[in-house]
């Protein structure tokens, strides 16, 4: 069905002169090219030998090679793959724990009334204003006393209470009708059963979008692990990539190797992005309150 307004629009579209439409496409194509260009340089560069990068770093590879990836796999006896798996493990476990803890707290804030509720919630929300950079130094001191520096737990546990995730869970759960919960309660379901068998399954789409956002944030994290981790064994790949060297410091930066490494960390995200585009883009507007 085409209603009056859209008809008016269709008319105004056909009236819009062709040059205007061409100009619009030109503008958007230019923007898209600029957006994609660095990604193209990265991927095509990862298939070029270093000698080609010095003469042709912006075109398609002329001397296509997989050598960069082979060297990357063998770099420092498999250090890259190890740190890649570190990143996967750290990001995945942080995200899962964040979602569990946030959905539980969000459920309590959304579906219960209790003493101190608003005060607690306000206190949590205020923390979104505080930059994580402030926490860096005291956490560094505390974790060094606890002997947590250079470990996996230091990269997972402290990030578990995520206020943003909790807030989003509460927002979503506010839209779950109470009748559902009341009915379950009449049927004799306990608090925990209502949470696991009713609230969680209903929240899957929201938790999914939230999970993508949180995973991506942790995957991309650089500053925090750079301060907390000095042992190679525990480093995520993002901390390793910038420090790649070959044949000592004198031989210059191995750009070919670095571009292959960058491609390695970006490609999985691109695949997820194009597979789950809508969810991804929705998570942005969902996250527009995020600092």
């Amino acid at each position: 069905m085409v209603n009056a307004t859209t008809q008016a629009h269709v008319k105004s579209v056909s009236q819009a002169q062709r040059p205007a439409r061409i100009a619009m496409h030109a503008f958007l194509i230019l923007a898209a090219l600029i957006a994609v260009f660095p990604v193209f340089i990265m991927i095509s560069g990862s298939f070029k030998p270093i000698t080609e990068l010095f003469i042709n770093s912006w075109g398609f590879p002329r001397a296509f090679t997989l050598d960069n990836y082979l060297r990357l796999l063998n770099y420092n006896s498999g250090m890259i793959m190890h740190s890649f798996m570190n990143s996967v493990f750290i990001s995945a476990s942080t995200t899962v724990l964040q979602l569990i803890v946030a959905s539980m707290a969000g459920f309590a804030f959304s579906k219960y009334n209790f003493r101190g509720k608003n005060l607690l919630f306000m206190m949590f929300m205020l923390t979104m204003m505080v930059p994580g950079e402030l926490l860096l130094t005291p956490q560094f001191i505390i974790f060094s006393r606890l002997g947590w520096l250079n470990s996996y737990q230091v990269q997972i546990i402290p990030a578990v209470a995520n206020t943003f995730a909790m807030f989003m869970c509460r927002q979503f759960m506010d839209s779950i009708p109470n009748e559902m919960i009341e009915a379950a309660r009449v049927d004799g379901a306990g608090h925990w059963r209502i949470y696991t068998q009713m609230i969680l399954p209903t929240s899957v789409p929201t938790l999914g979008a939230l999970g993508i956002l949180q995973f991506l944030g942790k995957w991309n994290d650089y500053l925090y692990p750079r301060i907390m981790i000095t042992k190679v064994q525990f480093k995520p790949i993002m901390v390793i990539l910038p420090t790649l060297t070959e044949g000592g410091d004198t031989s210059g930066t191995p750009y070919d190797l670095i571009l292959a490494g960058c491609t390695l960390v970006v490609i999985p995200m691109l695949i997820v992005f194009f597979a789950l585009q809508d969810k991804f883009l929705k998570s942005v507007t969902l996250g527009s309150v995020k600092g």
Binding site: M24, Y112, V160, M238, P242
Partner: protein
């Protein structure tokens, strides 16, 4: 069932422990890893402490030293420069792109352009910074190769900020584009149509209808951009160095990291609190600015 709100809380306040138990994991983690460090950092910021040995109370000395320290002001100015020079183009491009993509002539093409313009956001910051290092490299750089020059973008103190700002624009535009786009979608077609019927040109519609309606979204994005901008760390440090960028181009967060690295932990905490104050002032200033503008 007679209930005031269909989706609000189910229970009246009464003594029950279930909600507290559900909040407990969050609360414990919050207290241990957020509140305690925050309070501890106030204490440390008043101490001279190397991370081992004894702490010595020095009062506000750390703050005074930072505020009279040229490098701190320098890093603050650098951050301000990255912030302003990045934000203006980001906001302009993001808004223009959103308006064009939203226009009816482009409706069919939205699905093609939207993900492409958003693409930079999906690329890891570290990887993007390293790629920009390659793009702006003197010999290895695409820009120099295309221009046939050998400009030292990454080493010349007058040019060094350019690659960083370019990356900030490249990376952030997609994010704000999506936010503006979702804001524009909330403006009903009827409103625009009514303006047209009243004889408004597209420019007039833009300035008298679209932009005023978008004002709250602009305000929110300015604040989130400003907060993000002052937390800038990865981009300048990885484009212009392997770990820490030289002082002349270092962002403010480097005041925290270099002090941690050199074992001046009191100074690092004080720098952290200065960052908090800056962010709060900025937020307040922008809120006031927008209130007056309305």
């Amino acid at each position: 069932m007679a209930k005031a709100s269909r989706t609000g809380a189910v229970n009246r306040p009464r003594r029950q422990i279930a909600p507290y138990l559900f909040i407990l994991p969050f609360l414990i983690s919050f207290l241990a890893f957020f509140l305690m460090p925050v309070i501890y950092s106030i204490v440390i910021s008043l101490m001279k402490y190397k991370g081992y040995g004894t702490m010595k109370y020095v009062g506000v000395d750390n703050y005074r030293r930072l505020l009279t320290y040229g490098a701190m002001w320098n890093s603050l100015l650098n951050t301000l420069e990255y912030f302003v020079l990045g934000m203006i183009p980001v906001m302009i491009f993001a808004f223009l792109l959103a308006v064009v993509v939203r226009s009816n002539a482009m409706a069919r093409w939205q699905r093609v352009y939207k993900p492409l313009i958003f693409l930079p956001q999906v690329c890891a910051v570290v990887a993007s910074a390293l790629v920009f290092k390659v793009i702006f490299g003197t010999n290895v750089g695409a820009i120099n190769q295309v221009l046939g020059t050998s400009i030292n973008f990454l080493g010349d103190s007058k040019l060094m900020k350019l690659p960083v700002i370019c990356m900030l624009i490249w990376r952030n535009t997609g994010w704000y584009f999506i936010i503006f786009l979702s804001g524009l979608t909330t403006i009903s077609d009827d409103l625009i149509e009514a303006a047209k019927i009243d004889g408004a040109s597209s420019a007039q519609t833009m300035f008298y209808v679209t932009i005023p309606v978008m004002k709250p979204i602009f305000m929110l994005t300015f604040i989130t951009y400003a907060i993000g901008a002052f937390k800038l760390y990865t981009e300048p440090n990885l484009i212009l160095a392997k770990e820490e960028a030289p002082l002349a181009v270092a962002p403010f967060v480097n005041m925290i990291t270099t002090n941690i690295n050199s074992g001046a932990l009191g100074m690092a905490c004080a720098a952290g609190w200065i960052l908090v104050v800056i962010i709060m002032l900025l937020t307040l200033a922008q809120m006031r600015m927008f209130k007056e503008g309305q």
